[in-house]
Every structure is written in C-alpha cells, then in structure tokens.
Symmetry: none
Subunit: 203 residues, 4 copies
DNA sequence: CATGAATGAGAATTCATTCAT
DNA sequence: AATGAATGAATTCTCATTCAT
C-alpha cells in the first residue's frame, strides 16, 4: 500500500486538478477541493507541488510534452502534403478526445494572468506555433507571408478545439452523437474545409 | 459632476468588470478590485448587481444584445451568399476589435461552471447557433447535414476569435502589426479560407 | 392618498417590525427587510424612528401602555379575589391572543443587551411587577414574603405566555386546536391550577 | 500546553458561544466576538462547526443530551408521585443553576426562525414534551385530556425557568439573594404550588 | 415627505499555506 | 510520507445610516 499509494497520490492530485481546473478555471478551484477529489491530505499539495500554482505549471509542461510530438511526427517528407495534413488532424482530434479536460484547461488558461506560469506558456506556445509554421510551408504557403501564417495556425487550433469547447451546448443544438463515427466524419469535414480553403488562398 | 457620476457608477462597474474578467477570468477577480477600478464603493456592486455573479449575468446579456444583431442583419436576401458572408465576417471582426475584452470574456467564461449563469448561457448560445445555422443554409449547405452544421458554426466563431485570443503571443511570434491594414487583410484571408473551404465541402 | 398614507407609513413600519422581530429577534432583522415588508422607503425608518433601535423603543413603550391597564383594571375591590384573578387571566389571555407577536417580541427581547432600551425595560417591568405584587396581596399572600412574591409573579406571566411561545410545536404534539373553546378551557385550567396552588402555599 | 489546547479549542468555542448567545441572542453575536472570547482563530469556527449555525446546532443537541435524562430518571415507580415530582423539580432547578446560560439560550432561541435548526428543535422538543406527558400521567392526570396536558408541561418548564429569565430585573425588585437557601425555598414553593394546583385540577 | 444612491464599517466565510507531530 | 490543526489574509456580502435631490 505504502509505496504504490505514495506514487499515486501525486498523480491523483494532477488528475483531480485537470478535471477541476478545466471545469471551473484555475482561480475557481480551491486546494481543499483538489485534495478531496484526489483523496489526499490537504498538506500534500504543498508537499508535492509547492502550492496550487505548482500544479498548474506541471500540468502545462506535461501537456506540451504530449502535444508537441504530434506536430513533429506529422512532418513526414515521405507523404504528400495533403496526407500529412489529414494525418495531423486525425492525430490531434484523437489526442483531444483522449485528453479533453487537459486540452481545454491549457487552452482556457493560456490568456490568463497567472504570473508564475507566463514564462512557461509563452515559451511552449512559441515552440508550438513554430512547428505549425513549418508544417504550413509544406502545404505550399509562403512562410514570409506572416499575415497568412498568423491566420492559419491559430485558426486551425481553435477550429479543431471548438468541437470540444462547445460540446455540451452543441450536442443539444445539433443533436449529434459524439461517437467514433461522428469524429471520423468530423476529421474529414475539417480537413476538406481547410485543404480547400488553403488551396483557395494559394489562388 | 454629481449627477453624471451617479448615473455612470453602474456602467463603470460593468466596464471595469469586463476589463478585469477578460484578463484574469471571472473567478480570478475580486469585487474589491472591481470597485477600485471602477472608482465606486464596494457595496455598490451588491446594490446594483446583487453580487459578483450578477455582473457576469448582465455582461453576458449585454454581449448577446450587441452580438446577435450582426448575424440577423447579415442575412440580406438581396446579396449573393458570398457578399453576405464577407459582409458578416467584416462586421464580426469590427465588432471584436471594438469589444475585444468583452468578446474574450464571454468566450472564455462560457464553458466554465458558474451555475447561476448556465441558463443564460445555453439560451443565448442557442439563439446564436441557430442564426449561424440559417446563414449557412444560404451558402448552399444542406441544413439536414447536422454534422457539417456542427462543424462550420463553432469553427467560424473560434477561428475569427483566435486572432484576438492569442494576440499577445502571436504578435511576438509573427511580428505583425494589428493595424487597420492588417485587419483588412485578415478579413480577406479568413473569408477566402472559408469560402473556398465550404465550396470544397459542397464537392 | 398623501395624508393617509403618510400616517400609515409610520404604523406600517411598526407592524412589520413587530412581526419580524418576534419571529427572528431584534438583531436578526435588517432595516431593509422592515422597509420592504412595510412597503416604505428605507430612509423612512431613520426619518420616523431615528434608527432601528428607535423602533424597538417605541414598540416596548406601546406594549406596556396596552398591557399595564389590564392589571390596573383587574384590581376591583368589589369582586372576590378569585373572581378578580379569573377576570385578570381571561383578560391577559385575550390580550396575548390579539397581540401574540407583540407579546412574544417584548418577552423575548427583555433579557437581551440592547443598551439603549435597558432603561425603558427595567422601568416598565418594575411597574408591572409592582402591579402584580399588589394583586397578589389581595389573594391573601403576605407581601413581606418576598421569596414567594418573586416566585408567583414571573411564574404567572411565563406560564400564561408559554402557550403561545411553544404554540407551533405544541399543537403538533398535543393535537389541540387553538380555537375559542380551547382558550376558554385554557383559562379555566390555568386559573384552577394557580388558585389551588396558591391556596396550598397559604397552608 | 500544545496538546491540551488543541483539544480544548472546540469546547472553548462552544463555551464562549453559550455565554454570548444567551446574553445577546444568536443573531446578536458575531463570530469575531466568539473567536476572541474563546481565544481561538476566527477560521476555527468554520473548521470545527462549519459556520455560526453549526455552533448553535451542536449546543442545542448537547443541551437536550443533558436535559432529557433528568426527566427519564425522574420516572421512578418506587416513589410516590409527589416524591417523584419534588425530586424532578429539585433536579431541574439544580440543572438550571449549573447551566443557566445554556438553558436560557436554548429557551430563547427555540422560537426564533433559524431555518437550519428547525428540524433539531421540533424533534428534541417533541421528545421532551412526551417525557413530561408521561410524568404527568403518574400524577393522576388523564393523558387523554390533551388540553390539560398541553397546559401543564409548558407551564412547568417556563415557570421554573422564569426565575432565571428575569433574574437581573427580579432581584432588583424583590431584593432576594439567589443563594443556596433561596433556591431550597424556591423548590419548595414551586412544588407546593404545582402539587396543590394539579390536585385542584383533579377536582 | 419621499426617494435612490452612496458610504464605510462589519458581517460570515474561504483561502492557500504552514507547522508540530 | 502523512496528518489534522492552526493561521492570517482575503474573500463576498450585508449592515445601519446618511445625504442630495
């Protein structure tokens, strides 16, 4: 019990925090709530993470450690740009489905002023956008056209995420069932939308 | 000064709240902070809005009262679908530029669990998505294809907003200057992207 | 409207206060609540009564102005002591039935530390107990036996009031219906109890 | 000091609350005042009792846990009804002398509208009145005569308590000294009053 | 008389954190 | 490693009262 639980305690705090932060926002969650949800003693949070902010830092780092490789792997010179792109979107959608809370949490907290995580945020987002930029080049866009670059990257991210952000509301409105088949179709739709769109931008 | 200031107090609280909430999130802002920023006595917040949540409710209502008409006006049968669409996007981008904080605030807080605003949220978003849905019909999409509908609406919203969401980071990365000319170009880009994309979806 | 309403406003504040104070205690009621219940503007309370305490003062004075005459009238030399006593109890029970809230309020707030009403309280209760003392003499008790005097007076008051104090609970327990007949019987019971009891004390 | 003080903190809050509530009423006392009087940190009140109401709940429960056994013990079949009764009154008077503040507090707050304690109140008073009812039977009263039952119980309680309720005022009026001898006499007086009175009710 | 706005003090509660054990 | 108690600052909200109109 001792050894295993100890290791679990740390992770249980992280899991509980991801779930709670994503639903209520970082500032909207108290450490007591986290400790209860995780089933650990209150003081363990300071012990393991040196405070509430420490949890957020670790979550953000872990997120990018999982998320960035997707973009790196997607840059496969042996494939056509279009195949690359479809592969990428499929991977991203799969990742978001598997880590919805984590993704929404990081996305939502990104613009917020929690000073201690600002450095992590801007560094990691920088890496991410550069990755996306280099991918875009492969799709025939001129990387020197910064204005277009500035549009495509964020648009792609947020468009993909939008499904999950508004999920509780959307499914009530459109009566779609978010099952395997739906997401297959979703990936096709978003890919076609973007590939046709980017083709249009290339004139 | 006396007369005008009294009438302004209510609005000053709203303005300060929009600014602070959008930067730090609803839960991350205290009523003290709002009262200071607005230059009103702390108790006025309860007096006018019946608590912090009351401010958020009013902000959300006001937002949709401003935002929805854009979509209603855009549905002009005398124009071509493409002209409609470009007009709509131009209006939205203009609206976001004029009300960036308000827009980001509402967008960011929408998914969060502030129970007392849940009803307002779902009702207003319902109205919005229906509007977007009826617009999409005009662009030749089959409204019965709910899966596509569920993709286009949220994608359009979040894609357009993405510019402003990630603005602080983006401009550091892409070194673009968010001036009049940039947004002219931005509107063109996003319109072309979507019109070409939707054309692709129509086969 | 003007004249009558103005006079009404003052009384409406008093009525609302009696009702609220008796249910929640003086400290448990806010002036806003009183103003709402009375249908008057908040500032009228300061205007008419110079603050919340002023209401309580006036209520206490009014109470004793109504309550003391009962004891004065009861001291009728032309009747037998027993007839006097039964008449008194009948009057008291009637008074309490007609002014239950007022009676409970004064009774409950008597022991509490609201400094500004302390003087009124002790003066008025002094008058009351002296009245009761002089009545007791007529029933053949030696007024010099202070210990007995100290027992009879308060016992009589609180015994009579007890019906109304515990009314909500009691009627659930004993399933008695507090109608005209019940109170007729009640007066008989309490009179017999006391008259027999006092007879026993006289040996 | 360390160990003992920690354990005592909870009880010190209760003791301070009883003293303050009984003097100023529940609504008239602030948690700051309680914390100061008890010598504990303000937040300990929420920590131990989950708010001011929680203190009152616990006090009421504790009161009945002490008070009810007196009535249960008094029902001794081996004694004459009169001996039972005198024993009971002696025990009650002793209990009130030892716990005057607690008794007055519970008695005064019982009729007041503190919603969260309503359930406790009615349940506990129900138990109490049933006990008193079964005692009264032993004194030869017909328990089916609910009207008489409804009179005797509350009258006995409030008559006994009246001494302590009006103590500050009474002793000024009657110049009696509340010492051991006085209460001996008081017990005799109240017992004779009631026994003779109840005898009179039996015809 | 009456009103709506405003005030500043104080209310209860919750916070993240620390500490002795 | 883990706990339960404790802390003091900060939280939101309510209070009785005042004032200009």
């Amino acid at each position: 019990m001792a050894e295993k639980d100890r290791k679990d305690a740390r992770q249980r705090i992280l899991d509980a925090s991801v779930s709670l932060f994503s639903r209520k926002g970082f500032a909207g969650v108290g450490v007591r709530e986290i400790a209860n949800e995780a089933g650990v003693n209150l003081a363990m949070i300071s012990y393991y993470f040196n405070g509430k902010t420490g949890i957020l830092k670790e979550i953000i780092e872990q997120f990018f450690n999982l998320y960035l490789p997707i973009f790196i792997d997607a840059d496969d010179p042996g494939k056509t740009p279009e195949a690359c792109f479809r592969h990428l979107i499929r991977k991203i959608v799969h990742f978001i489905r598997e880590n919805t809370d984590l993704f929404l949490l990081v996305y939502n907290e990104i613009p917020l002023d929690v000073p201690e995580v600002a450095e992590i945020k801007s560094r990691r987002i920088g890496e991410l956008l550069e990755r996306i930029g280099s991918l875009m080049m492969r799709f025939g866009l001129d990387p020197a056209d910064r204005a277009i670059m500035a549009v495509i990257g964020p648009t792609l991210i947020s468009a993909t995420l939008a499904q999950f952000r508004l999920r509780p509301v959307m499914h009530k409105i459109f009566q779609v069932k978010p099952d395997e088949k739906y997401y297959e179709h979703y990936v096709d739709t978003i890919c076609t939308l973007f590939l046709s769109g980017v083709a249009g931008l290339r004139k």
